[in-house]
Symmetry: D2
Subunit: 388 residues, 4 copies
């Protein structure tokens, strides 16, 4: 927040641009708060809207210099790349189908990309992006923000350390109700348009989160899935509920449920993993705790920054146990990891070994998951091997 970025004591903030996220957009505001939380980014440019007036108004509201408010993302990429003080990274918060074309413009100019999920509207687009990014000297960060929750880091560390034994069963679900009634003409215009959101509706929007979370925590990839997708709301063109059986590498089995028509559910992302020795349970709506049940022991509850919670959670926590952190802090953790990587990249060094974030591979797997679900469901829930 200081005028200068040049003090000896700290690296300069990362100069950030944004594509999308104009007035009224939910996720753009979230990205900006996340970027601000730890004071590692500085928003200096943007193509905030495809509507130039709205874009300019957004820029003004955000304190972005009018000369760096662009009507067109390609123009922005070109001109920012030429500036000495041009952006180092761009946050992409557009509808899904625009992620890839926007990302390509910036990546090819060596500008790092922080992109909202899912990676794309189609598996083909995702593959195209992966191919195009080969050899580019720019980072790609996909905001699978739930992997930023400290207790999710804790869960992953415990599984990696073998505390659960061999994984047998994975139960993951993400249930909402905001699309329980037709909102096609109002709040959910692009979210329910297969051209823009992609072939998966709930599967793409939240099923990818659930899949990513399960895979991130367990370290396992799904080898085959069988999906039964539904569009319950009359006239809906994409799925709004999905039931998926999963078989993971190594023999673990799982179920995934994603729904946007589950009346009474807000953002109920919940993960349970059971191994030969212990099981864990975590819920996004109560994210500061991880419940653990080990064979022959009473269940216990690990608390963020509390007793027996490990350094993997601690390094992404800001305040003491019992003071809840939430969604924005978890989202900010993805940005903080990105900042660490970008700052290290400035002089070609590597960030601390603990730094990690979801990227192109996770994005590709997410699109492979959606693609496999849609194909399986069309074939009456036949088993499909996701193409990763």
């Amino acid at each position: 927040m200081a005028d200068t970025n040049q003090n000896a004591g700290r690296p300069a903030r990362v100069r950030l641009g944004m594509v999308g996220g104009g007035q009224g957009a939910f996720i753009g505001a979230v990205h900006r708060i996340a970027a601000r939380m730890d004071d590692q980014f500085q928003l200096v440019a943007g193509a905030f809207s495809s509507d130039p007036d709205r874009g300019a108004a957004s820029a003004a509201e955000l304190g972005v210099d009018p000369s760096r408010s662009y009507a067109d993302f390609a123009e922005m990429a070109k001109r920012e790349a030429r500036r000495k003080d041009g952006i180092e990274a761009v946050a992409i918060v557009t509808p899904n189908h625009m992620h890839v074309p926007v990302a390509l413009e910036f990546l090819k100019r060596g500008i790092h990309v922080i992109c909202d999920k899912p990676l794309s509207a189609s598996l083909n687009d995702a593959r195209k992006l992966v191919r195009a990014s080969k050899g580019k000297d720019a980072l790609f960060v996909l905001t699978h923000n739930y992997t930023g929750y400290p207790m999710i880091r804790q869960a992953r560390a415990m599984i990696e350390a073998g505390e659960l034994g061999e994984i047998r069963v994975v139960q993951v679900e993400y249930a909402q109700d905001w699309l329980a009634e037709p909102l096609e003409e109002t709040q959910a215009v692009w979210r329910t348009d297969p051209e823009k959101t992609g072939l998966g509706g709930a599967t793409g929007d939240i099923g990818t989160h659930a899949y990513n979370l399960a895979s991130y925590v367990t370290g396992l990839r799904c080898e085959a899935l069988a999906a039964d997708l539904q569009a319950f709301v009359p006239g809906r063109r994409v799925d709004d509920n999905g039931h998926v059986l999963m078989r993971f590498e190594g023999g673990a089995r799982g179920m995934l449920w994603c729904s946007q028509v589950a009346a009474g559910q807000e953002n109920n992302l919940r993960l349970r993993v059971f191994g030969t020795r212990a099981g864990i349970e975590w819920s996004q709506e109560d994210p500061n705790y991880l419940r653990v049940g080990a064979l022959g022991q009473p269940r216990y509850r690990l608390s963020r920054n509390g007793a027996a919670t490990g350094p993997e959670a601690g390094r992404v926590s800001r305040i003491p146990a019992g003071h809840p952190e939430g969604y924005l802090e978890a989202f900010a953790n993805i940005y903080a990891e990105a900042a660490r990587a970008i700052i290290a990249h400035r002089d070609g060094s590597a960030p601390d070994a603990a730094v990690h974030f979801p990227g192109l591979q996770e994005g590709l797997e997410g699109m492979g998951f959606v693609d496999a679900c849609v194909r399986s469901s069309k074939r009456n829930a036949a088993w499909i091997k996701p193409a990763f």
Copy 2:
């Protein structure tokens, strides 16, 4: 508990016999407490064990007259049927494969049967029993005891009254961990022996409960299912974990998970149902409450005997809201319903219209469910129409 059964003020207690349930058997003791709870039954005879000494010792411990302690259930059926004061009903609490042969002996003599679940060890046996019971003047009660919970009655009444709208999604699960390690030689001898438990392991033991509960509450039958069953514990001969996709009549879809290897889970039977207007959630481990989330309203919690909870729950509750009832009270509700029906049956009348309990049809559907799961899983989770 009085010496006499002949007071004007109340009908005589139902004279009850028991097959199985000798010393050390868990479920026999539960049936006896359930029968005692509301003072409608009197245990007067039994063939408590296939081991005659253990049977006699059990009878003595239970205060059953030695002359009515039988070494053999067929003998018991014959002799009790001849007595003027012979048993009116028999509780069958043997291993699964004995349910049908025992039931047949009593039913054919007009003695009512109260039988533990599942109905049998095989679908064929179940069908045989259903055929044989045709035209018999005796009641058959299957102790799907979870349907005795007041808040389950409440949930069913709400759905029947249309408060949830049209049902879209059913999520049901029953997770335990008591078979997470091999107990084949100790606690789970017959439960893991396909000859005695049937082809389904977890599916038969607890999957049938989960399926029955979902069907009871929603009033819907499953038209097709796709099951992926596993036997995770090395050497196990029956499934110990099952993942099932379900399609219900009328278009609802569901998932069922049953597991006996879910480390840290005790008896986590949980049902969630979502309709076009509202969703509900209930858990056996916290059974005195029903959580309801209706579109556009704050979530609320109905409490047994509390405000806005209806008569269907009230008629099977004993104590005020805030004083928890549990598993035994719910089990006793099945016995209380049976007593009402048996007492009415004495003079050929019908019990109150509200009286109901699971019976042969539910038992048949349970075995159809297990059979379909096993067949589907063998065919790689192909869709199977359960044979009901």
Copy 3:
């Protein structure tokens, strides 16, 4: 439930009478279920109501022989004492002010008493009973039923074993809302009449439970208290809310809150105890768990009959962990303890060392608590040493 009580395998059931508990009375029905639960009692006589017709009708409904249905409790005591098969114990479930006169009639004839709480309507009455019972060869059991909960037994055992260290703080509360509005003329006639209920309203009815629970679990007695009592409902003649500061022997301090006007509360009896090493938390509305937080460890949850829960809880549990027990089972545990003591008493032996139940001393302490609260509150919350 068998016709005969004389089998070798088990001691004969305790012959039980009841005073009070006629049709419509809540607590009488609870006592009867509790007595039946473990099949150790046989209800054979009663003076169920001060209204003879209602008494007779109740007897008929309960299957009690008309010749042993009495219009008068003194008559009942006299005649039952003369019978060879007369009652061995009487359950007293009358309004508070009748507890002592009824108990005296039976105790003096050597008939054991199982009495509802509080012990009396006044401290003087309580003292009179204690004096009168000296030298009588009869047991006195006071149904402070919450001490029958397995996890309360567990809590007590842990504290006795020093697992919490030295006790510092006790927080206990019992909150209801059933008297939030005037029910003086309908449901709460005697409960709000100081002649019948005693000088304490909420303090006598539920405050005594809270105090007893705290004292039972910690093993500590209150040395001084300061109480601020209120009668919030206009026209109420007894307190309906009480706030109490407590100082325990050994230096622990506590707070007690009892309320019958806490809108939205059902039977929220909750105890928390904190020592130098660990703290525990238990709630009657979720009674199958005990939460434990030890310094430097993650919080854990002991489950009835679950891992690491001790034999003190196990011996009063009936079913596996995860299958909830509730209020009636806890109440039945008091009856079961009473039965063990009564049966041992038959031949002058002592019951197992683990057997214990609340009795006259606890009753006296409860009345001392109420008396001290009332006196303290009248003196503007001055510190009072309860007279025990």
Copy 4:
């Protein structure tokens, strides 16, 4: 975060300085995140530590220009007041005894103060500040941060609207365990030194939060209190546990418990308020929900930004229901309110009527609460009227 503050679209960020909050200080970092969250502040100056080297290092780390890093807060006040671009507001995050002397230096120069709580180390100091601030044209914001939680705003609005009826009972508690063992020489040097923390230990540090929260939500002030304070840890010079009876204006009664020795408790601040019509319950460790129980209705749960939650909560929420916000967001809401007031103050206008924050009066009441607790406890829990 932009270089310039001068865009038409938004008011310039508030230029902020900080006193205290150098490296390793917990609460300073919290204030900075809170200030950044909504991008309304710009940290441009500081006297971060009484140790000049640590102060300079902190400034460098925070990106504050070395020329505006001061070794002395009085010097800072003087020099910043002279600059055209000097700070508009100062955040005071020192130990308690320094709050007043620091605040006075800035207030007298017309620089707004955002001060951590409690207001001072003594009631006298608090009064001195209140007197000195009379007629000063500067705002004073006290970070009683829990009043920034959306559901606390909701609770207050409901009570103000009469939804609970007339308030009868207030139960509030704040329990921690971080001082359960002696930390006098390490983590809690100044917190346990009466010269620096003030006469109240737990009462000053967290009891003031609990009192403020109860008073803020109910709109009631305590007219008299009786306190029993303890210092359980051997050698401790200030209280570490306090039990307080309260009498509020209008007849409501309450209890307050604050403890820093409650083993197993993290930051358990919990408020329950009961009125003639309904009761509410809120917990800081689960802050996104408000539980409501109205007479004759099932309990319901209001969710931040969820159905039926009002605009008072909505205006201080950032993200949809089901995505948890936490401690930092609530803290940031105090800063956001401060920013609105400061920005309005620039041109002498008033902020929106909904804008409010704790200030000197609340600070004075907090110190009056501590003072009354300490005096009452010394007089054996005599009733004391807090001096506000």
